[in-house]
Symmetry: C2
Amino acid sequence: MASEPLPPPPFGAAQPIEAAAEQLAAVLYNDQGLVPAIVQDDENGEVLMMAWMSAESLAISLAEGRTVFWSRSRQELWRKGDTSGDRQWIRSAWYDCDGDVLLFRVHQEGQGACHTGARSCFFRSFGPMPGPEPAVPPTQEESPR
Amino acid sequence: MASEPLPPPPFGAAQPIEAAAEQLAAVLYNDQGLVPAIVQDDENGEVLMMAWMSAESLAISLAEGRTVFWSRSRQELWRKGDTSGDRQWIRSAWYDCDGDVLLFRVHQEGQGACHTGARSCFFRSFGPMPGPEPAVPPTQEESPR
């Protein structure tokens, strides 16, 4: 059965990044040829996920303006969102002081980054789930009369 | 020579987290016994750094309410900020859908997270540095008269 074709990207979504050779040369890969890539929502700063990139998947990501990872479990290029539609359109791309971690600020298409359907892969906290700030101060006990 | 003692933590800084046994058991460590830990500024969402934690350093981090990593280069516990004063006070701690990445939202003490003195380790972008949004629209060319 043929799968449904993906809808075209949102207007203006793909913004390829032309990296300088010395920028790409600053990236350090581990002994499997991979570097961790953090993905952050460019609109609200939420950390969405972390995955791994090879030099090839980094080059494709920058050239196409969307995240492409290396799947360690499947040992193949993982064009994020090709199956789910949840593509990530790169707004800016960063490498850290040591060159061994990448950060992508993206426009997240679809329902979210996580394969569970959650928007972020970080939906479980240690300890009790931190609640939102209370909108109103808690009711004060009345003073003894 | 004795080093200067650290100043006491800011009032209310240390907020230990009591993690449930099943939460800690959900964390997957790599073949070196380590898991990547992303650190994000809880106040403005900026991604500050990524480092690695062992099970021991995670337990200490949660118990003391500040980040403690495993230094792969020095092969020892790295109590972030003990030398620099740039301690990170944990506001919430998260583990991802696969349990193989951690995320800490922190109050960053001192000048920043990076050993270079930068606030974030991600101060270099691929391609030209993205500028801030222009505060005013660019001056329009006058129409020909």
